[in-house]
Amino acid sequence: MATAFSAPKFAAQPFTTISPTSQHKPLKIPTAASPFLGSTRKLLRLSSSSQLNLRRRSSGSVFAVSDVVKEKKPTPIPSLLITKEEGLELYEDMVLGRSFEDMCAQMYYRGKMFGFVHLYNGQEAVSTGFIKLLKQQDSVVSTYRDHVHALSKGVPARAVMSELFGKTTGCCRGQGGSMHMFSSEHNLIGGFAFIGEGIPVATGAAFTSKYKREVLKEADCDHVTLAFFGDGTCNNGQFFECLNMAALWKLPIVFVVENNLWAIGMSHLRATSDPQIYKKGPAFGMPGVHVDGMDVLKVREVAKEAIARARRGEGPTLVECETYRFRGHSLADPDELRDPTEKAHYAARDPITALKKYLIENNLSGEAELKAIDKKIDELLEDAVEFADESPLPPRSQLLENVFADPKGFGIGPDGRYRCEDPKFTQGTAHV
């Protein structure tokens, strides 16, 4: 199974792959000038021109191969996609994500956190674009690259930072770590280390939502689950098995593929027979959508439709977000395989810079206000690090707690008492 470890070094030249089947265009690794592989639509660049019909469905929108998705009639629309409040909320969330991850890198190199840490820099538009549309009761399932999903879902930065420091005030009491962020309050159902293993769990959460509505007769239960995972996962059996089940039972779930083209050192093109992941949705009976994942507004538009579809009970959607991670796979990855031109291409499409430009050009906000948000986030993170630093490490007594929800599961000792009744159990030194 793929786990987080850095690839061995070897020299590699980027090469062009030609798909053997004639219906596919030859696919190239994107250079600064060429469009993203897999996109058969031109990217619609957001500009300040209000004459552009920004709500037109063709902008990276639903590929309605299955007839389940209804085509929306064009309605009279405002010229902007977001209000000022929404814009600032999106901006703040993305800046929080970016700054948090940068702070993580700093703390890691200072020896405050250990192990495998996977940073989300560059992909913020996907997390913000999707998760900011959810209600508290909706669920999010992620992978090991889960810090920013946790923050977007509402888990306090203090709790996430403490968890990374391994402190008992962390969101998982220090027992989970970077790759296992959970929050029952915010319905963040992980944080998984093995890729693909979260998707069935997400499918289960969606199943519960449907069950509550149809069996338990909680008529207003329309909770949606979002499952985030990468391009590498899309070659894994669990992905396909869950696409099948979700479409079969019309589960309220959205499968969000964060296609950043690389699975550690394995290029998506070298691993996948048909790299256009969104096409795999219709094969299972759900719409497959491709969207520019570096543009938070486009992601948000697609997300709105996909989430609304799920809430209406029409079933799942597969959304492929073209995105990129600015850093290596993890903090242990030297990141030597990726072409610098490719990196520069995506750096120029930094989602935060793009949103900032949009806000200013459309008079939704000004430099000063945005700088104030930046400062606020910096202070928030300082506070988070301080809190994490000062928090206590988990004591020995925490060792045996939480292994079982019902600690009788440790069994009955030779003296006839349950092991959990042993006074040493709460000290963490009982023999179990």
């Binding site: 199974m1 669920s139 399932v141 962390g170 969101c171 998982c172 009491r173 220090g174 027992q175 989970g176 770590g177 296992h180 959970f182 929050s183 029952s184 159902i189 992980g190 944080g191 998984f192 093995f194 293993e197 998707i199 069935p200 769990v201 499918t203 289960g204 959460a205 969606a206 199943f207 519960t208 449907k210 069950y211 509550k212 069996v215 338990l216 059996g237 669990q238 098995e241 869950c242 099948n244 089940m245 939480n402 292994v403 079982f404 929800a405 019902d406 009788k408 599961g409 440790f410 069994g411 009955i412 000792g413 030779p414 003296d415 006839g416 008492r417 349950y418 092991r419 009744e421 179990v432």
Partner: protein, 408 residues
């Protein structure tokens, strides 16, 4: 007034008035009984005419017997119609337990291959889909890893699924989900999510089913932290363990055996559960402790008949709880007989018997007069040919020889 159950003989624990029948018990089970009492287990109101108040709406009237393990004089003999309770086969007992729990709690649901319209490949879920609907008794596609994971996700978000592996061996495909998610997520989430899932299915060596359908997964799963494993062997404990597993907040793997589904026994009419962590005393004795579980219990009882004729007095304990071991029942037995024989269907290497041997040696070495003997299946893939299959598993004759050797 005594509560009478077929096959639950001496029942010292269950005699005397209901209000303090457990506290006044002087049997070796007393400490655990009182623990059950503290945890709020209720008492059965069984009147002397054998009728029971079973009004489902009145919670206090429908009471449980939380631990009905007691001594049995011999294996379940012929039932007589004058005794209370009802007779059924083991798979029907499982079905009954499952159905009762589904009626009791609407969050209990079933997932698996062919559990719905087909009624289960061993008929354990027969009729449930008609009664509870297709969503509550879910026919899944053939995707063990994913539907087990789906069950885990559902358990984390409020449901209580019972996932069926059509054959336990198929759950090898679900090992990722069982090990990583089922066992670990309660811990890695810092206790935020519970996973009250039951994973069950038939395993063990059948009649010439071939190597892959004859696997014993208990040995593979036993190292997974955070799960409990139980093995049922009689209709009585099948129903009891099924109900206890469903009610437990922990993930429980319930091992059934392909050859035991048609065992017949008379079980009580009233609600009862069997404690998940306790072993079952099948036959008390003085000379040797024989620890076993699942199908091997019957081979052992068969050997016991021969042994009794030869003048031996074996104490037979069905350990039932494969993880964790009930070291109290086992320990008391070892302290009495000083000789241990383990008879299991697991492979020799890394099986339940191997762990049990280690646990007994660690805890009760001073009480042993002889090294522990462990009879397990041969470390071979189960052959198709009947003659070969027969010699891969432990047969009663080997058990008799082993006891004779131990008791020299």
């Amino acid at each position: 007034m005594a509560v009478i159950f077929q096959g639950v003989g001496a029942a010292a624990a269950l005699a005397s008035s209901p209000s303090n029948s457990f506290d006044s018990n002087k049997s070796v089970f007393a400490p655990r009984r009182s623990f059950s009492v503290r945890k709020g287990a209720s008492f059965a109101v069984v009147r002397s005419d054998g009728t029971v108040n079973l009004n489902p709406k009145d919670r206090r009237a429908q009471l449980l017997i939380s631990n009905a393990v007691a001594t049995k004089a011999d294996s379940a003999a012929a039932s007589s119609s004058s005794k209370p309770g009802h007779e059924l086969l083991l798979f029907e007992a499982l079905l009954e337990g499952l159905e009762e729990e589904m009626e009791r709690d609407p969050h209990v649901c079933v997932m698996g291959e062919d559990v719905g319209h087909y009624g289960g490949s061993y008929k354990v879920t027969k009729g449930l889909a008609k009664k509870f609907g297709d969503l509550r008794v879910l026919d899944t596609p053939i995707a063990e890893n994913s539907f087990t994971g789906m069950g885990i996700g559902a358990a984390m978000t409020g449901l209580r699924p019972v996932v069926e592996g059509m054959n336990m061996g198929f759950l090898l495909l679900a090992f990722n989900q069982i090990s990583n998610n089922c066992g670990m997520l309660h811990y890695t989430s810092g206790g935020q999510f519970t996973i009250p899932i039951v994973i069950r299915g038939p395993g063990g060596v059948g009649r010439q089913l071939g190597a892959e359908h004859s696997q014993r997964l208990e040995s593979y799963f036993q190292s997974i932290p955070g799960i409990q494993m139980v093995a049922c062997s009689t209709p009585y404990n099948a129903k009891g363990l099924m109900k206890a597993a469903i009610r437990s907040e922990n993930p429980v793997i319930l091992f059934e055996h392909v050859l035991l589904y048609n065992l017949k026994e008379r079980i009580p009419d009233e609600d009862y559960i069997c404690n998940l962590e306790e072993a079952e005393m099948v036959r008390p004795g003085e000379h040797v402790t024989i620890l076993t579980y699942s199908r091997m219990r019957y081979h052992v009882m068969q050997a016991a008949k021969t042994l009794v004729n030869k003048g031996y007095d074996p104490e037979v304990i069905d350990i039932r709880s494969l993880k964790p071991f009930d070291l109290f029942t086992i320990g008391n037995s070892v302290k009495k007989t000083h000789r241990v024989l383990i008879v299991e269907e697991c492979m020799r290497t890394g099986g339940i018997g191997a762990s049990l041997t280690a646990a007994i040696t660690e805890n009760f070495n001073d009480y042993l007069d002889a090294p522990i003997m462990c009879l397990s299946s041969q470390d071979v893939p189960t052959p198709y040919a009947g003659t070969l299959e027969e010699v891969t598993v432990v047969q009663p004759a080997q058990i008799v020889t082993a006891v004779e050797q131990l008791c020299q």
